[in-house]
Amino acid sequence: MNIKHHPTDQTLMDYASGTMSQAMELLVATHMTVCPHCRDKVAEFETMGGAVLENVTRMEMADHSLDHVMAMLERETANENPAVQELPMTRRIAVGESITGSAMPSIPTPLVKFLPDNVLSLEDVPWKTLAPGVKHFQLKSVESKGTVRLMKIAPGVSIPDHGHHGHEMTLLLKGSYIDDIGRFRAGDVADLDDDVDHQPIADTAEECICLIATDAPMKFSGFLPKLLQPFFGI
């Protein structure tokens, strides 16, 4: 995977500080699974978080706080069974995409956890038709702020020209698309702020599947696109 487009530094910093919506966090973690470059950057921002923690004005703990904690830990440790020490969680294996195509080899775990149980590959997603050549699937986020959905766009189809009220990120999972900013392939992230207007077009013979997270609704500019908006529900 040859990733050319990454989330901005500010986005990665918000991820590291833990102040972004769950929708955005899901997208960033999915991208990081296939992007060592962004994993390094996030580690750097977490180091900054540690530095802020070191420099903060301390708040005294209550009297006997340590004794209290120690007593609870003693109890726990006494009951500790070394055989059941915390092991990595068993993970549902994401069987799926062939490695030969221009798709991710399998669905990264962060995303798999947000899909229905029987969905093991992008083909199994219970797609809903949105417009000719455009299907989508809304993922459940526990937070009301932000939305996250999968979108499947047939070759040559274009998403209506639109701008953004807030922050929108798109992660390509399969195929590619081109818009006013450039060409995006599997693994790439388009990290768009409110001031961008664009019209993505799935530009190859292959369908294009992407994950889109927004903090606010998209705004479409033309008349016809306005009609589409209720379908998008975003």
């Binding site: 500080s17 990081m32 580690a43 977490e46 180091t47 540690g50 802020v52 915390e86 990264p108």
Partner: protein, 183 residues
């Protein structure tokens, strides 16, 4: 630098031999800082105390997962506090990369072995942050220690959003630049 290395050693010792003395030192150093962190988000000192205690208990329980070659003690404890805060205040888990993921792509071209250890690196970042001009430092602090977006930070400080973003960009640039100078 000695301090940062000591903290890492204490965590390793807690993992290896359930070292109570090392834990007490970690507690003395980090608990009041984590309490301040929780207070900034929760606004209530009882909750902050309880969450700081819980975070320190996680340090004890998860000590065997700490890898000094990957993170400094302060970085690791920051992530524990962050995740616990999201869990309690936002009722969900922070979404992270799973290192055993079959989809994980590892770095085929890792940077030449780092010249400095994670501890030394953390100390450099801390020093670079202390050197920042106050207006930039405040924006960095608010980014990590308040649950607010950049536009909310702008509102709080009564400055335009663009200024928040440029201060943050400057701060990041300086912190990185400073690191390169020192490395």
């Amino acid at each position: 630098p000695a301090e940062a290395k000591k903290c890492a050693d204490w965590i390793v010792s807690v993992a290896a031999i359930r070292d109570r003395e090392a834990f007490a030192r970690l507690f003395a150093h980090f608990a009041p800082r984590v309490k301040a962190y929780m207070f900034r988000f929760g606004g209530n000192s009882e909750t902050a105390e309880e969450l700081a205690q819980e975070a320190m208990m996680q340090v004890w329980r998860k000590a065997h997962l700490f890898d000094p070659s990957k993170a400094a003690a302060s970085t690791w404890i920051f992530t524990i506090a962050r995740n616990l805060r999201i869990d309690r205040f936002r009722q969900r888990k922070h979404i992270e990369v799973d290192d055993s993921d079959t989809a994980l792509i590892v770095d085929t071209d890792p940077l030449a072995d780092e010249v400095v250890s994670r501890d030394e690196h953390a100390v450099l970042v801390k020093a670079a942050m202390e050197e920042l001009p106050t207006d930039q430092k405040i924006v960095v602090e608010l980014s990590f220690f308040e649950d607010c977006s950049h536009s909310e930070i702008a509102e709080r400080l009564d400055i335009p959003l663009g200024t928040v973003k440029s201060r943050l960009r400057l701060a990041l640039g300086k912190m990185r630049g400073g690191l390169e100078d020192l490395a």
